[in-house]
């Protein structure tokens, strides 16, 4: 039997943490009814595009705090692939445990189910190192430095929005809430989302709160971080709604209404991503 080197052992531990992260992040959606049929009811091309985008997000996330410290693009690619594999394994295990996938389940049904569930789980697998590790910080400064740049912050907001939007979007409630809200409610929600996004990151004093870059007044901070952040949250929400077919057949007002509704958790996700990663 080949003895494991220390590097192998570290990687194996990283994989273990990744599995834990995958289950943690994936569990709410793994137990959501609409997700079980999403694999077959979503248009195949939209789903493929979504999976491809998710993979790209994983690669970039790996630069900023993935489940092991990386120092080159190749390593990030490999880590993204590994995170995906762990996520697929975690999703398959849980779905099988729940009896949702059985030996007689048709191929495209269980493939679709696992493919769709692996998206949130892969986020968890990738972020597991940052959150679940015991603080081995040799390369942490490098990763933190990469994340501090403006582009990095924008990307983190994108990843955070994507994750929360995807967690909320598969169910009917987003559209239903949109129908129940009057336009004044929607306007208030836009304001609240913007405000919360700004306050959560800059004002309340949560750990991970960002320092103002030199020379930035509050107005400029708002304009440069929170406004694009909410814009990103809206775009991500619209994209996720489109992917799941919730936008088909809707007129403009209903579309904007649903986007604003989903934009609220997306904006919170953007703020949390900046605090946590």
């Amino acid at each position: 039997m080949v003895a494991l080197t220390s590097a192998d052992r570290d990687y194996a531990l990283g994989l273990g943490r990744a599995f834990g992260g995958a289950v943690l992040f994936g569990l709410p959606l793994l137990m959501t009814m609409e997700m079980w049929s999403l694999g077959v009811t979503t248009h195949a091309w939209r789903l493929l595009l979504f999976l491809a985008l998710n993979f790209w997000v994983l690669v970039v996330l790996s630069r900023f705090g993935g489940f092991e410290p990386t120092s080159s693009l190749t390593e990030d690619l490999l880590d993204a692939l590994a995170a995906y594999a762990v996520a697929i394994a975690a999703a398959a295990c849980v779905l099988a445990l729940f009896g949702l996938i059985r030996f007689d389940t048709p191929l495209n049904e269980w493939v679709g189910m696992i493919a769709v569930q692996s998206v949130p789980a892969s986020f968890g697998a990738m972020l597991a190192r940052k959150q679940l590790s015991t603080g081995d910080s040799r390369n942490d400064e490098d990763q933190a430095a990469r994340a501090e740049g403006y582009g990095g912050q924008l990307f983190l907001m994108l990843a955070g929005s994507l994750f929360l939007a995807f967690n909320v979007a598969p169910t009917e409630e987003v559209s239903l809430i949109g129908f129940k809200m009057t336009p004044w409610h929607s306007l208030a929600l836009v304001a609240a989302s913007l405000l919360l996004l700004h306050i959560l990151v800059f004002a309340i004093g949560l750990s991970g709160q960002k320092q103002r870059p030199d020379g930035y007044g509050t107005g400029r901070l708002f304009l440069v971080y929170s406004v694009p952040g909410y814009g990103i949250a809206l775009l991500v929400s619209l994209y996720v709604l489109w992917t799941f077919g919730s936008t088909d057949g809707q007129n403009l007002e209903a579309l904007v209404g649903s986007t604003v509704v989903l934009g609220f958790p997306a904006a919170i996700g953007a703020a949390i991503a900046r605090l946590v990663i």
């Binding site: 430095a145 501090e148 740049g149 582009g151 239903l176 129908f179 336009p183 694009p228 814009g231 057949g249």
Partner: protein
């Protein structure tokens, strides 16, 4: 020093682009919602019109696809659709379907199954009820 941070006073191009793009998006969203708010249309009761689509053959009979169009701006939820095959004035067959929701000025498609050939009879499809969201 991390990339992208501005030195004192000089704003990087990316920040300008991001801020402007974000502002445009938010202003557009607010404009659409604001216009809707100012028009203050009370939600009219939904008016569902049915457009019959293709008729095809399936295992036990036939399927008729249709689109339910909401011509008013009120949303209809749990819309009951009924299709009847008539021969003269006598009822040959009746089928029903439920559409989860048809948004205001929106459309949702569905289908009805029949065991008799709809092309040989007079087919009438209409919405028979709905619920407010």
């Amino acid at each position: 020093m991390a990339n992208g941070d501005s030195r004192h006073g000089k704003t990087p191009l990316l920040e300008w682009c991001a801020a402007v793009t974000g502002l445009l998006l938010i202003v557009s969203v607010v404009a659409v919602i604001g216009r809707e708010a100012i028009r203050e249309q009370a939600a009219d009761p939904p008016a569902i019109a049915i457009q019959v689509g293709a008729i095809g053959q399936v295992a036990d009979g036939f399927v008729v696809t249709f689109e339910a169009l909401n011509q008013a701006n009120g949303t209809a939820v749990a819309v009951e659709i009924e299709g009847t095959l008539m021969s003269g004035s006598s009822l040959v067959e009746r089928s029903g379907a439920t559409i989860d929701y048809v948004p205001g000025h929106g459309r949702t498609s569905g289908g009805l199954f029949f065991s008799k050939d709809p092309r040989k009879h007079r087919l009438v499809i209409r919405a028979t009820g709905f619920q407010d969201p």
